[in-house]
């Protein structure tokens, strides 16, 4: 199985990198952007073949290491390898 994990900053947490990207886009003439939030995308190859178990395991990984839940949210998508 594969797991795709998106780690994003929680709403309300200041994202200086996202702001810098927004300003750079504006400087390039892309005036249609209201906001930018930058996050992380992590892809995992899993040994587990049961999607439910795989999801639970990756959730645990997110809580323990992949995300810092003080400032970050995460989303896990499990798919067939």
């Amino acid at each position: 199985m594969k797991a795709k994990v998106h780690v994003t900053l929680k709403p309300g947490v200041l994202d200086p990198q996202g702001k810098a990207v927004l300003h750079a886009l504006e400087a390039l003439g892309f005036g249609g952007v209201d906001g930018v939030r930058q996050g992380k995308f992590i892809e995992l190859d899993l040994k587990e073949s049961d999607p439910k178990k795989a999801e639970a395991e990756v959730e645990d990984m997110c809580k323990k290491l992949l995300a810092n839940t003080v400032i970050e949210d995460y989303r896990v998508d499990i798919s067939e390898g």
């Binding site: 947490v13 200041l14 200086p16 990198q17 810098a20 323990k64 290491l65 992949l66 810092n68 003080v70 400032i71």
Partner: protein, 233 residues
């Protein structure tokens, strides 16, 4: 007094702390490799500055999971004093010994310069070498020093007098009090260092160990270590 300095791959202030502790204690601190599963009984544990594991994923995130940190956390919970400097502060937040998180600096740049700190609480082993309100000059050198926590935790830190140091200008004013530009990284409430609830863990971004010898151009960092030795025997 016995002290231990934890060494991770990528630590780079471990030797600085080793030298200051040697000077203050008059004996050698233990240098403990991160891969060790246990730690000898000591009176003080220092988690030093640097770039453990290259700051992969998040600053301090990998180091917080390394084998020796389990024992550091267990000993901290029993009341053994733990000092985390710079990357060490990041590690202590990642392993849950201190609340909040150190985010990338608001200016997105690595900041490396001397700054001023105001001692907000002098009633702990870490800060008893200073007077409350005393302004000291020490360097910062970090990319992720922008302290952030939720409003409830911030209120608790303030109500329980758990802010150890704030960034100020040379006259002792925070950016809010008129000390324009005193805050080098956008840190919430100008926080440079905080204590745990039991006041036995201190994490701070600035480097007292780097200005602890006249040959280095300043000694304002030294009272932290002398105070620790006095308090912990």
């Amino acid at each position: 007094m016995k002290a231990a300095v934890i060494v991770f791959p990528g630590s780079n202030c471990d030797r600085d702390v080793q030298v200051v502790l040697r000077e203050s204690m008059g004996s050698e601190p233990l240098m403990v490799w991160h891969g060790d599963a246990t730690l000898a009984d000591v009176d003080l544990i220092v988690v030093p500055g640097g770039f453990s594991y290259g700051d992969y994923l998040r600053s301090g995130a990998m180091a917080a999971q390394s084998p020796v940190m389990k024992d550091v956390v267990a000993k901290a919970k029993k009341g053994v004093p733990v000092l985390g400097i710079c990357n060490g502060f990041q590690v202590l937040t990642e392993c849950g010994l201190l609340p909040g998180v150190l985010m990338p600096n608001a200016g997105l740049k690595f900041v490396c310069k001397d700054i001023h700190l105001r001692t907000e609480a002098a009633d702990t082993p870490f800060t008893q070498g200073y007077d409350k309100g005393q302004v000291i000059r020490v360097p910062v050198a970090h990319h992720d020093g922008n302290y952030f926590t939720d409003d409830d935790t911030l209120k608790r830190l303030n109500d329980e007098n758990r802010v150890a140091f704030r960034y100020v200008n040379a006259d002792g004013q925070t950016s809010k009090e008129g000390g324009n530009g005193a805050n080098p990284n956008g840190s919430m409430d100008d926080i440079a260092g905080i204590f745990s609830a039991a006041r036995t863990v201190l994490g701070l971004m600035p480097h007292p160990e780097r200005l602890s010898d006249p040959a280095m151009g300043g000694t304002d960092g030294r009272p932290m270590f002398d105070g620790l030795v006095q308090a912990l025997g």
